[in-house]
Subunit: 345 residues, 2 copies
C-alpha cells in the first residue's frame, strides 16, 4: 500500500507533514510518498535532524504550491505543478492508493473531482468528519463540500455515510438521521421533506437504517450514528459544536485558574478533564474523508501538527484496507437498480 501526502499543504507544512509521515512510516506497513518542493523538504529534514528517510518513504518533486487564496476551480489549470495537483495525478495514475492534504478544502474538492473523478453514479462528493458525542462518535455528511443539495444527493450521502460509519466506527447497523428543525416528517424545506421520503425508501430496501429527522441539539448527545445534511447546514452544525466546545473550555479554564483553591480543584479533576480534552481533540480523529471520489482522498485539518498527520495516515490506510470507495461503488449500483425497479412498477 502507498499513501501520497501533500507535503506543502496546511499551516505547519512541510515540517508537520514530514514528522507525521515519518512517525507513520515507522509504525505502519505502508509506503509513504511526500509530494512537494524537493529542496524545501530536504532543508526541513535537515532542520528536523532526520538524516535518512525511513524505509518505504520517498519524496516526489512538485515545484508549485496551492495558495489558500487560489480560486479552487482554476487550481488544476493554474497550479498544475503544485504538490496537490501532482499528488492527485499520482493517485489517479495508480502510483498510490490514497491522498492526504492539509491544504485548501475548496481546491482539494475541486481538483479531486476533476483529476481522480467521482465514483460513476455519485452526483456529488461530500466531506464526512467524525465528531465526538455523548454516546461515542458519529459521522456528519456533508460538512461543506456541496452547499446546495438536491434530495437525491442527500440520499447518496446517507448511503456513503452509513458505509463509512460501518467501516470506521465499527457500527454494524448505523442509525441514520436527517438533520432537520423538528422531528415530524413535514419539517424543513422542500429538500428535507423530499429527502425524508427517499431515506425511508432506502430503509425499506435495507440499504440504510433510517431513524427519521434529527434536531441539531440531539447530535452532540448521540442521537444518530450518521447525520445527513446539505453542506451549508452541516458546516454550521460542525462549527457551532466546535465553537461552543471552545467557549466552554475557555470558561472552565477561567473557573479553574481563579484562585489557589480552584487550582487545587483542577488537580483533583485532572484525569477527567484530560479525558474531556482528548475527546474533543480533532488531531486523534484523523482527517475528514472526501467521500464519493473514486479513490480515498483525505482532508487533514489546516492547522494539523504531526500527531494529526499521523492519524490522517492511519485513517487513509484504514480506508484503503476497507476498500471504502469500492464498497460505495457497489452500493451505488444497488441504489440505481432499486430506482429502475421502482420506475418499472
Amino acid at each position: 500500500m502507498r499513501i501520497i501526502l501533500d507535503a506543502m499543504g496546511g499551516d505547519n507544512a512541510p515540517d508537520a507533514i514530514i514528522l507525521g509521515a515519518v512517525r507513520a512510516a515507522n509504525e505502519f506497513a505502508a509506503e509513504l510518498v511526500l509530494v512537494g518542493r524537493g529542496a524545501e523538504i530536504l532543508e526541513a529534514l535537515k532542520r528536523l535532524n532526520i538524516a535518512t528517510l525511513p524505509k518505504g518513504m520517498e519524496v516526489a518533486n512538485a515545484e508549485d504550491v496551492v495558495d489558500m487564496h487560489d480560486d479552487p476551480s482554476t487550481v488544476i489549470r493554474r497550479r498544475r505543478d503544485s504538490s496537490m495537483v501532482v499528488g492527485l495525478q499520482m493517485l489517479a495514475a495508480k502510483s498510490g492508493d490514497a491522498f492526504i492534504s492539509a491544504g485548501s478544502t475548496g481546491a482539494l474538492l475541486s481538483a479531486s473531482s476533476l483529476i481522480v473523478k467521482r465514483i460513476p453514479g455519485i452526483r456529488r462528493a461530500a466531506l464526512a468528519p467524525v465528531i465526538p458525542t455523548a454516546e461515542g462518535r458519529c459521522v456528519l455528511i456533508d460538512s461543506g463540500a456541496t452547499v446546495e443539495c438536491k434530495p437525491e444527493f442527500l440520499a447518496q450521502f446517507a448511503c456513503m455515510g452509513s458505509l463509512f460509519a460501518k467501516s470506521s466506527l465499527g457500527i454494524a447497523n448505523p442509525r441514520v438521521g436527517l438533520l432537520n428543525i423538528g422531528d415530524e416528517d413535514n419539517k424543513g424545506t422542500p429538500v428535507q421533506r423530499a429527502a425524508y421520503g427517499l431515506l425511508q425508501e432506502l430503509d425499506r430496501t435495507g440499504l440504510i437504517h433510517f431513524t427519521g429527522n434529527i434536531e441539531a441539539r440531539a447530535v452532540p448527545l448521540g442521537g444518530a450514528d450518521v447525520v445527513v445534511s446539505d453542506g451549508f447546514s452541516g458546516n454550521v452544525l460542525l462549527k457551532s459544536i466546535e465553537g461552543t466546545a471552545q467557549f466552554m473550555s475557555q470558561q472552565l479554564k477561567k473557573i479553574f485558574t481563579k484562585n489557589l483553591l480552584t487550582k487545587l480543584g483542577a488537580v483533583f479533576c485532572k484525569s477527567g478533564l484530560e479525558e474531556l480534552k482528548a475527546m474533543s481533540d480533532y488531531r486523534t480523529v484523523g482527517g475528514t474523508p472526501l467521500l464519493g471520489i473514486s479513490k480515498p482522498v483525505i482532508k487533514a485539518h489546516g492547522s494539523s501538527d504531526d500527531l494529526a498527520v499521523f492519524h490522517a495516515v492511519r485513517q487513509a490506510i484504514d480506508a484503503v484496507q476497507h476498500d471504502l470507495s469500492g464498497t460505495i461503488r457497489d452500493q451505488i449500483n444497488q441504489m440505481s437498480i432499486t430506482k429502475e425497479q421502482s420506475n418499472v412498477e
Copy 2:
C-alpha cells in the same frame, strides 16, 4: 401597560404561567391578563394557595387550547376559542400591548401573522433569541420562523435584529454578521451571496453596521452582536449550541462526581460553575421575540417554569417601553425609501 399571557401554553401550564405572572405583577407596574380556561385557572390558583389575584391582574376566559399536534395553519379556524387565538385577538383589538405564549411555535407564528399582522413592508417575521457568548450576548435572527429565505428577507432581519440588539442589549452600534460557511464574500449559496451585497448597501446607508460573514464557530465566541440567518441554519446553530453545552455539562458532572476528591474540587469551583450555569440558563434571558409582527409577541420556551415566565414578562414590558415594533416600522420605511432612490439613480 397591559401584558396578555396565554395561560394554557407550554409543558407547565397553567401553574408556571400563573406563578410567573403573579411574581411579575408584584414587581412591575404593568397590568397582566391571563387568558385560558377560567375553571382550570381558578383550580390552579387554589392549588397554589393564591387566595386573591394581585392588583392589576385579571383572567379572560378562553375555553379551548392549542395542541402541540395542531397544524399551525389551521389553528385560527379550528381553535378560534383557544387561549392563544383569543389572546392574539385581544392584542390586535388593543386590549393589551404585548402577548406571551409558551405554546406551539408554529401556531404562534401563523396566528400572529394572521391576527396581529406583520408590520407593513415586512416580508417575513423572524424569531430572534438572545444567546450567551464569550463576550456577552448576541441576537440570532432568524432561529426557525422562516426556513426558506430570499436575500431581501435576510436584509430585513438584519435591520430588525440590529434594532432589537440596540434596545435589549444596549449596544449602540451592533456588529451585524451574516451566518456563512467562510469569511469571503463569495461563500455560501446564492442567497447568502446576494444578501451580502444587500447588507453592504444597508451598511453604506448607515442603517446597520455590517461586519461581513460570520462562521458558526465564531458565534459562541462573540464574533458578532447580531447574527443574520435563514430560519433553517439559524435553528441548526441555536440547537447545536444548546446540545453541545448540555453535552459538556453532562461530562463535567461526570468528572466532578467521580470520587471524593473530585467532589471536593467541585466545592472549590462552586461559584465559577454556578456562574457558568447561570450564563446558559435560558430562563433568565426571557423568551424569544417574534420580530416583524406589528405588536410585541413573545414565544416563551415550551418548558418554561415560573422564573422563565417572569423574565418573559420583563422582556415584553421592555419591548413595549422601547416601542420596538414602532421603531422597526419607521426603519422599514427608510429601507423602502433607499430602495426607491437607488431605482431612480
